[in-house]
Symmetry: C2
Subunit: 408 residues, 2 copies
């Protein structure tokens, strides 16, 4: 691999390792190269702290080589505006770095291109590496939607049988897919800011919705790392990273429950700490607490948001707005069929990651239950398809929108 | 590739090209090699005519080199018994061929190993090429079941959306998958002896159930041939051949309709020629003709088999027995959900070939509707999984039984 591409790839790997830790900032990675060697690295810190470029510069300054006359590879155009932190462009200019490589301009049309122009004006050479833009953009779809539309990016994940069932009619779903797929699913959780489930999932599964890498042994991890899994279709960098690497200190995403359950047991996994929210419509909430004095009492101690929505469409608008307010960029939608259907019908689902297990159930629940359609042509046509065999499961990743980052 | 493996592969390619033309005999291919060159080739003829070995010998005899001192590669152990034709072992012995390569012994335990022994006794060297047995067996699963259990081999094929729907609730299914997948499906038809559909498919789709290679243009054919489709999981030779090659003069399979429709329009595609059968239970048939005098009159001119079965399970036993009697080895089960479910519940489905299109429908019909199950552990676990991306569709092939031909 050409060195330039290798360094940019490394910057993107760092960006990936920061996903789930930086919202509402994008996860970015930076690599400083001097004399053909990596002299410093950095990824975006938690919101309010240093961005990737500044961290990489500090890292290089603490080493022997410093940054004077160095080059920097950044997985996204450096910012040029004053926010919580000073602009990265100024840090780069002040560091004596002579050349900046970026794969993409910022997706925010208000600032896109400004960072690059500021650098050029200050005499820093800039190269836009179009050959790496697909790779970098695979990590930034969420941020792009968040910035352009002011909404979280919704990834619908499920495990289903080959005949399209995510659970038996009685709600059993453990486990449809293999440990290989389940480890992948936990890694997917670790890069997301929130996980959304419906009432039935809450009632049937008592789900923890946390990141549990320790459930999986080395054989599973080594298999995924080994590259025995072959990616067909789009060589999706996000999917590749999810298969081969694992966050060092994963954060549990915000747990989001849609709907007001009839009971919320004191010992349920969902409310085990404060990192959750229950989102309910006004009527549903009033009905629930008026029919159970126990729930009414319990509700006072719970994180419940009551929204003034009536329809499923209004519900989704409310949720999206609420999650945006919490700084959620990437949200993982882990079903039930009804909740998945509501997001689909609202046009809110952006990405589908379905793991298909080699089983035929012959009955049970489908992954998505939305509005009835009379023609196949009314179905949602997906784009940029990737398929991967994780041992015996087939993972399919596809998007509502076609890749178009290179146009920005 | 080693020459031996190349010649055996060629024999298997010829075997593939004969599938659908030889039942109830297995489709076999033979290649005669002399001085390192192919001197003759042959595949099994229609039932009652020459087997592959005899055709290859005749082919070589008509050339310059003849067969004396030659070697023969056969995709299955040569037969040693007198049936419709004299045993192939004798033809080989008489031809002066000095060595026979086979990948597998015959799956019929009554004759397995006899051909090889007879050859050895007559001084012909025999080598069993275990390295090619997986490849050869991919073509012979159907014949194995037919011989061992006296039943046709059932391949359940469907095209579904990523959310597991094969049609809208109103029955629209045209087209879920792409032309690439549909050409593959027609090739699959061309190697089968029968196609089974249910009443709803008959009513909704007016299906022709024929092999229509001419529907697909060169771009589609060239893409499949190009090897741009990557096979993951089991390197299934049958799937590989279905993707890359096409029968020269495909035969339309026997059309099988399960159930008695309320009307059978005179101009429907299903009854356009004599190559069909309608299989109905006694009660269903009597009810249908007693409620329609028109159907009663029409029924006299139709190919209808009325069976004395009451339950769905009995229905499947009846159908399997009937198809066996017609010499059907490989039967393609093309759904509806109900019919697919009946075969699943009866334990009759042997292979699943599902094409998954990048679409989300959010409602509609599942591929299989069988008996309700309460636990995932009750699902049918499949084996020997292959996945292939045909452009944007993901094709998954999996089997009820694990590959075990090498044990024979």
């Amino acid at each position: 691999m050409e060195n330039k591409i290798r360094f940019m790839r490394r910057a993107c790997e760092i960006a990936f390792s920061r996903m789930g830790h930086t919202s509402p900032n994008p996860a970015v990675g930076a690599v400083i190269v001097k004399n053909g060697q990596i002299a410093g690295e950095g990824g975006t810190g938690p919101y309010g702290s240093d961005h990737a470029e500044v961290r990489a510069i500090k890292n290089a300054m603490s080493g022997n080589t410093g940054t004077d006359g160095a080059e920097i590879y950044v997985s996204l155009e450096p910012c040029s505006h004053y926010g919580k932190t000073p602009p990265c462009t100024e840090a780069i200019i002040n560091s004596g770095i002579k050349k900046v490589y970026v794969p993409l301009l910022d997706p925010n049309p208000l600032v896109s291109g400004r960072g690059v122009r500021r650098l050029a004006e200050a005499g820093v050479e800039v190269e836009i590496m179009h050959q790496s833009s697909a790779m970098a953009s695979d990590l930034l779809r969420g941020f792009k939607k968040y910035i352009l539309r002011g909404e979280p990016y919704i990834i619908n994940k499920c495990a289903m049988t080959l005949d399209g069932r995510i659970a038996t009619s009685t709600g059993d779903s453990r486990w449809i897919s293999s440990d290989y797929s389940r480890l992948f699913a936990h890694r997917l959780r670790s890069i997301c800011d929130a996980i959304i489930v419906g009432k039935n999932t809450f009632v049937n599964d008592n789900p923890s919705l946390n990141v549990r890498f320790s459930d999986f042994n080395d054989e599973i991890k080594n298999f995924l790392k080994s590259g025995q899994t072959m990616i067909s279709g789009r060589k999706n960098f996000l999917i590749e990273q999810l298969i081969t690497s694992e966050h060092d200190s994963p954060k549990d995403p915000l747990r989001v429950l849609l709907g007001m359950p009839e009971t919320v047991p004191a010992d349920c996994n969902f409310t085990r700490d404060n990192n959750y929210i229950i989102i309910s419509g006004r009527d549903e909430f009033e009905n629930a607490i008026s029919s159970s004095s126990e729930l009414k009492k319990r509700a006072e101690g719970l994180n419940i948001v009551v929204g003034e929505f009536k329809t499923r469409a209004e519900q989704i608008v409310f949720i999206m707005d609420y999650l945006k307010g919490r700084g959620v960029i990437n949200a993982l939608l882990e079903g039930g069929a009804g909740v998945n259907g509501s997001f689909l019908d609202a046009g809110a689902t952006d990405q589908f990651i379905y793991s298909i297990a080699p089983r035929i159930l012959g009955s049970g629940l489908p992954p998505v239950n939305g509005e009835d359609k009379s023609a196949i042509s009314e179905s949602l046509r997906l784009n940029d398809i990737t398929s991967v065999m994780l041992k015996e499961d087939v993972l399919i990743c596809a998007y509502r929108e076609q890749y178009n980052f290179e146009m920005m």
